[in-house]
């Protein structure tokens, strides 16, 4: 634990109030995100719907890929991706925007990250319910709803946990680097752009895997999206190999994130 002495991880694990505090901060963050503008939570509905429409026109009307149930296919890919990209891009400057939390009261920095991701998880949950409603009421005739085995949905728990941890790790990496290099904002915009098009979000999975072999293993988001679709759409168990690889990514990113936050993040108060 000496490795993370600035983060006080040992004390954090022993703190009984941490869940309560994270939930409090998360709820307030959620409110800030969705209730600060006129349309409020409606944006959580409008945004995915408009992006779905956009990609539907591009990749199903203009470029005919012929993916069955393309809207559901896109829906899942986009809500998973949006959680990832909104959390990582949104937290790059978190050590600056949330300075008030750690500067005057010595809050554990890790609370700030987890609570922000909890707020985003609530947004994800909202989008997920929208997907289920769409899927059950408008798509069931194609899939044969009676055949959907809801026990498979239990696999969503480890899948979301992996998604959450990968996102948390990358958020900590990016925001710690931001303390010393403000360029990280632009770099991440470019890098995540690549990640988007190197994931099977808008592409047919067979084409993607044929033309970009082993990309599903290299890009952590690819495997996560594939497994979300297996579970939600195709009534299949997750691809165990990808699940394992993504789990490993989650652990690695989390460790790198913690190290960087420990080493660079403690300079945040004076540098930002």
């Amino acid at each position: 634990m000496m490795l993370f002495r600035n983060l006080h991880l040992k004390k954090w694990f022993g703190d009984k109030n941490k869940f309560e505090r994270i939930w409090l901060l998360g709820k307030i963050e959620f409110k800030l995100r969705y209730y600060e503008n006129t349309l409020g939570l409606l944006w959580a509905l409008i945004k995915p719907l408009t992006t779905i429409l956009m990609y539907y026109i591009a990749f199903n009307v203009v470029i005919k890929q012929g993916i069955p149930s393309f809207i559901s296919y896109l829906f899942i890919g986009l809500i998973v991706w949006n959680f990832f990209i909104e959390s990582t891009s949104g937290t790059i400057q978190i050590l600056r925007t949330k300075k008030f939390l750690y500067e005057y009261n010595n809050l554990y920095k890790i609370d700030i990250y987890v609570s922000t991701l909890v707020a985003n998880s609530l947004g994800f949950l909202f989008n997920f319910i929208m997907f289920l409603l769409y899927f059950i009421f408008l798509e069931k005739h194609r899939i044969g709803f009676s055949q959907v085995n809801f026990l498979f949905y239990l696999n969503l728990i480890p899948l979301f946990l992996i998604l959450f941890t990968v996102t948390l790790g990358i958020s900590m990496v990016l925001s710690s680097l931001y303390v010393f290099a403000k360029d990280i904002n632009q770099i991440w915009a470019v890098l995540s752009g690549f990640m988007f098009f190197l994931s099977p979000i808008v592409f047919k999975l067979e084409d993607y895997q044929k033309r970009l072999p082993s990309m599903s293993e290299i890009n952590p988001m690819a495997g996560i999206i594939i497994n979300f679709r297996n579970t939600l759409m195709y009534n299949k168990p997750p691809d165990m190999k990808l699940l394992f690889i993504d789990g490993a990514y989650a652990v690695i990113f989390l460790i790198i994130g913690l190290i960087l936050l420990d080493r660079l993040g403690n300079k945040a108060a004076e540098k930002l």
Partner: protein
């Protein structure tokens, strides 16, 4: 062992140097033509190596001119700034109070109270119980659901002070909290210093108001250009400070 438990803060040989880049290009032209020229770095030793011990339940004053390193020192002591060298040992939760900062301006008074209380180690239930006391002490009953960005600086200071006092941390750094606020607030704040509220808590009081330091602090730290000139009897510290700045 007894003595060990009596220490709130122990700093051994701590110092702090800041390095920052100088931006000497005043025009776009000079910026373009000097693209690859390395930026000039400036170093400033804000606090020179010093050691000190502050006991539990003590009210310690901290004086010195502007830029003498007072704020840097308290930020080091409360763990916000990593030190260059040396060690800082602290026993207890801390809170740094500086003219109503430490709160989010985008949040309401209610949310700020809950967040600060929770960070200071209280459970939500405990904040529930303290809530009315905090609001009434700050005299902000009508504005609990108002975002504090709409508050006046006096209101903000009252809120922060009320949170600090009622939900308080064991070690409190009060950085010029008496500078804002009207007569009534100052009276309240002074009453707090005198009353049982702060008893048992360790207070480090930064102020330019010598009366307050004189009245409430037995011992005082005098900093000059980042150097610890004196730490001990308040009368002596103030005497040194005033004779230095005649």
């Amino acid at each position: 062992m007894e003595q060990q438990n009596n220490i709130a803060i122990r700093a051994v040989n701590v110092s702090k140097t800041f390095s920052f880049s100088e931006d000497e290009h005043n025009t776009i032209k000079s910026r373009l033509f000097n693209f690859f020229k390395p930026v000039k770095k400036k170093r400033l030793q804000a606090v020179k190596p010093l050691s000190l011990e502050i006991h539990k339940g003590e009210c310690v004053g901290l004086i010195g001119r502007n830029g003498s390193g007072k704020s840097t020192l308290i930020k080091m002591l409360c763990g916000l700034y990593p030190v260059d060298k040396g060690t800082i040992e602290m026993n207890g939760t801390t809170m740094l109070m500086n003219l109503g900062l430490g709160m989010s301006h985008e949040l309401t008074a209610r949310e700020n109270i809950y967040i600060s209380g929770s960070i200071l180690g209280l459970t939500i239930k405990q904040v529930d119980d303290l809530f009315d006391k905090i609001v009434d002490f700050a005299e902000l009953r009508e504005f609990v659901n108002t975002k504090i960005k709409f508050f006046s600086s006096g209101m903000m200071a009252r809120l922060a002070f009320s949170i600090a006092v009622n939900a308080g941390a064991e070690i409190m750094f009060l950085d010029e909290v008496f500078a804002v606020g009207d007569i009534k607030f100052k009276k309240n704040a002074v009453t707090v210093l005198e009353n049982s509220w702060l008893s048992g808590r360790t207070v480090i009081l930064v102020s330019h108001t010598m009366d307050i330091i004189q009245k409430y602090c037995k011992r005082t730290i005098y900093l000059k250009n980042g150097e610890l000139i004196f730490f001990g009897d308040t009368e002596k510290a103030i005497e040194l400070y005033t004779s230095d700045n005649l």
